[in-house]
């Protein structure tokens, strides 16, 4: 057996095994190719899936990409999308909340009965409805975190009890109409700046500008601290892609009725919750609890409080989502929030890339996922086949949308450590 030995100089600061990306644009492309191979593409497969769905339905009907239809889709995603944002929080803990559909229903019922039947001020009605939602979430959180009842059972009990409450609140008359031209009606119908196209452009460009500024600032701070930073070429590319999307969206919306309020609110909430999750201690704590409850506990995190607060957030989001659904259907009825509402929202979060097993995901996945689902539903409605066939196709397309993602993630499958 040979005896050969290399004696090297003291350890260099950077690990030589880390493949460093080439500088500039070429490096970016190389990295992209590598990620493509190893399946670290993040949201790219879902976005591709979305494009595919749009292309197919456009081909079949010629109407899918029409500005009115796309505007409709942005209106319809707000309600289930907000519920999905709440679901993302719960999924990050590795838990599930089955009650969110019922909570959406109760919240709408409360707001409807107070404002339309009892003549309470509409803003106050909304506030009470949201507070009731948050309180229900707190109750779930309490039973889960403090008593130790599995979240599945607590929220299943909630699903039943709150839908009973919803019927009870609506009472014999059953359905409460949305006030004409009131606040709740506006949730779905108002276009910011009353459809002024300038408003849409300002929003789009401000968004892109802020993104660019943030990226550049971060780069400056990292370089100053001697840490590796994103190259300027990559920042330019990213800003370019986002800019393109923003411009396309703005001009489409302006071809129809302008910037829809529900879209602004939904996007705003996604941005805010994303910030909370990624850039605050609280968000970090949620990830920690979801990634390993025992490690989180030993790190001194108040696990019970994190859990309770997350159930409050999810319930609050559901309550808000319920108001958007109410606005969209023009009434609060006994069926609001039942049926597929919850499943669609959970599916949205999962399709968007949030793990069901905790510790991995972001609220943007709620947006992406609900876009996929609403596109399938709306696309099939445009094709208008039989209800039974529609169900079958929805199932198949849903699966197909996720297969793309799963296959690309395959190679990346982690296999433990050690």
């Amino acid at each position: 057996m040979s005896t050969n030995q290399t004696t090297e100089a003291p350890a260099p600061a950077i690990d030589p095994r880390l493949m460093v990306r080439e500088e500039g644009f070429a490096g970016y492309l190389g990295e992209f190719k590598r990620k493509m191979k190893t399946g670290e593409l993040g949201s790219v497969p879902v976005v591709l899936g979305l494009i595919l769905i749009a292309a197919i339905f456009q081909g079949l009907t010629g109407d899918f990409l029409n500005a009115d239809n796309l505007t409709n889709i942005t209106l319809w995603i707000a309600g289930p999308g907000l519920i999905a944002v709440g679901i993302v929080f719960v999924l990050l803990l590795g838990e599930i909340d089955l009650s969110l559909g019922s909570i959406a229903g109760v919240s709408a019922a409360i707001a409807g009965v107070l404002s339309a039947r009892s003549g309470v001020n509409e803003w106050l009605s909304i506030l009470i409805a949201l507070a009731a939602g948050v309180a229900m979430g707190a109750l779930h959180g309490f039973f889960f975190a403090k008593i130790g009842v599995p979240a599945f059972v607590v929220t299943l009990a909630g699903l039943l009890a709150w839908s009973g409450l919803q019927q009870f609140v609506l009472g014999d008359k059953g359905t409460a109409n949305v006030l004409n031209d009131g606040v709740i009606a506006d949730l779905d119908h108002y276009f910011v700046g009353d459809g002024d196209i300038a408003v849409t452009w300002i929003f789009a460009l401000a968004g892109v500008g802020l993104f660019l500024a943030g990226q550049l600032l971060d780069r400056r701070r990292r370089t100053a601290a001697g840490l590796p930073a994103r190259p300027v070429s990559e920042i330019a590319l990213r800003t370019g892609v986002i800019g393109l999307i923003a411009v396309a969206a703005a001009s489409t919306l302006n071809q129809s009725q302008g910037l829809p309020l529900p879209l602004v609110i939904f996007l705003g909430i996604v941005v805010i919750t994303d910030f909370v999750l990624r850039r605050t201690s609280y968000g970090r704590q949620i990830f920690a609890v979801g990634g390993g409850i025992e490690a989180a506990r030993r790190a001194g995190i108040n696990v019970a409080w994190v859990r309770i607060s997350v159930f409050m957030i999810s319930a609050g989001m559901a309550a808000l989502g319920g108001l958007f659904i109410m606005s969209q259907q023009g009434s609060a009825d006994k069926a609001l929030g039942s049926g597929n509402v919850l499943m669609n929202s959970i599916a949205a979060a999962v399709i968007g890339g949030t793990s069901l097993f905790g510790g991995r995901g972001k609220t943007w996945s709620a947006l992406l996922g609900i876009l996929v689902i609403q596109s399938i539903i709306t696309g099939l409605d445009l094709v208008h086949v039989n209800q039974s066939i529609q169900y079958m196709i929805t199932g198949a397309v849903l699966l197909a949308a996720v297969v793309l993602d799963s296959v690309s993630r395959r190679t990346q499958k982690s296999s433990g450590r050690g």
């Binding site: 409709n72 008359k173 059953g174 359905t175 969209q328 259907q329 069926a335 409605d381």
Partner: protein, 342 residues
């Protein structure tokens, strides 16, 4: 063998309860009628006819299997007369037969349950559809002949939905130009709203002149979407929910179908009490109908009515279904005054 099960069963309360009437209704989510009207009306009438009788009520929540359990539970409790609004009328043949063998009598309510039922009270569901179609034609007036119609139907899983659809089509045939878009709203307002949204996309804002909605809940969402798109065409539903009456008052909805629940409920209560007390039922159920399994069932058939802005006062208010105050909340006060409701 050393004996048959149940041989030594004592004559417990379970084997005969002469003061209870069972009431089984099919669901409570897609329509408000069952718990708002059917149930309270029946309870009141039973009380009026037989002071110490009581009604044992259960709701099947849209499941035949659950309804069968409730049916059997009533029998286990010793109930001898059951008013049954079957969730799925075709599956009840064996239930009713088993019940009859145990001396339990069944009054078929609203939907004609198969099996040897003792009596039947109902509206004709096909007729409901026809009235809906005719009302839509009336609302279109002179424009009817050139009108394209969008149909948002009920859930395919509900047998009634098929009757409504076929009745409405029968009435529309030849009277309007064409049914240009047809989809199931699954009895869900949100779904119905989205269906109409895509109908607008594929047909264009001028692509249709009227919308048939199978019930009021879906009509609410449809109207909301149409308004948002700036479209003003007649839309109608059924069930005469208070929200629908409000929309009719405001001119948003063209009509609804009012099934006169009170007479329906009263007749059912009367039949049930008579059966319980072994009295004659022919006086109440003078007609007869045939079901797929049985012939010559004593029946009472009522006609549903169309409600439009013009006859609100004479129908739902006159029948005591609603008080004007229920309808004329702040948001609708002005429209009410204009419509002359009080």
């Amino acid at each position: 063998a050393c004996g048959k099960a149940g041989d030594d069963k004592k004559d417990s309360a379970a084997s005969g309860d002469t003061k209870s009437i069972g009431l089984l209704l099919p669901e409570n989510a897609s329509s408000t009628r069952y718990e708002s009207f059917d149930k309270p009306f029946i309870e009141a009438k039973v009380k009026a006819l037989c002071g110490d009788c009581n009604v044992k009520y259960s709701n099947a929540e849209g499941s035949a299997s659950k309804q069968k359990q409730q049916f059997d539970t009533l029998i286990a409790q010793g109930v001898k007369v059951i008013i049954l609004d079957a969730f799925d009328a075709t599956s009840t043949a064996s239930w009713v037969k088993e019940a009859a063998a145990k001396g339990v009598k069944v009054v078929a309510y609203d939907r004609l349950a198969t099996g040897p039922v003792s009596a039947y009270v109902s509206f004709d569901n096909e007729k409901v559809g026809e009235l809906q179609g005719e009302a839509l034609v009336t609302a279109l007036g002179a424009k009817a002949a050139d009108a394209n119609v969008v149909m948002i139907n009920g859930d395919e899983a509900d047998p009634n939905a098929a009757y409504f659809k076929s009745g409405a089509k029968k009435a529309l045939e030849g009277k309007v130009k064409k049914v240009v878009y047809e989809a199931s709203g699954e009895w869900k307002p949100t779904v119905a709203g989205q269906k109409i949204g895509t109908a607008i996309t594929s047909l264009g804002k001028d692509g249709f002149q009227a919308v048939y909605s199978a019930n009021d809940g879906m009509a609410a969402a449809i109207i909301t979407q149409l308004k948002a798109a700036g479209i003003n065409v007649p839309v109608g539903g059924q069930d005469a929910g208070v929200d629908a009456i409000q929309r009719i008052v405001a001119g948003d909805q063209a009509y609804t179908i009012y099934k006169a629940y009170k007479p329906l409920a009263d007749s059912a209560a009367e039949l049930a009490v008579n059966l319980l007390q072994n009295k004659d039922i022919k006086s109440v159920a003078s007609a007869t109908v045939d079901s797929p399994t049985d012939k010559g069932i004593p029946a009472k058939l009522l006609s549903p009515k169309v409600v439009t802005k013009a006859n609100i006062q004479d129908t739902v208010i006159a029948d005591g279904l609603y008080k004007a105050a229920d309808i004329c909340t702040a948001d609708y006060a002005a429209a009410c005054t204009a419509a002359g409701l009080k």
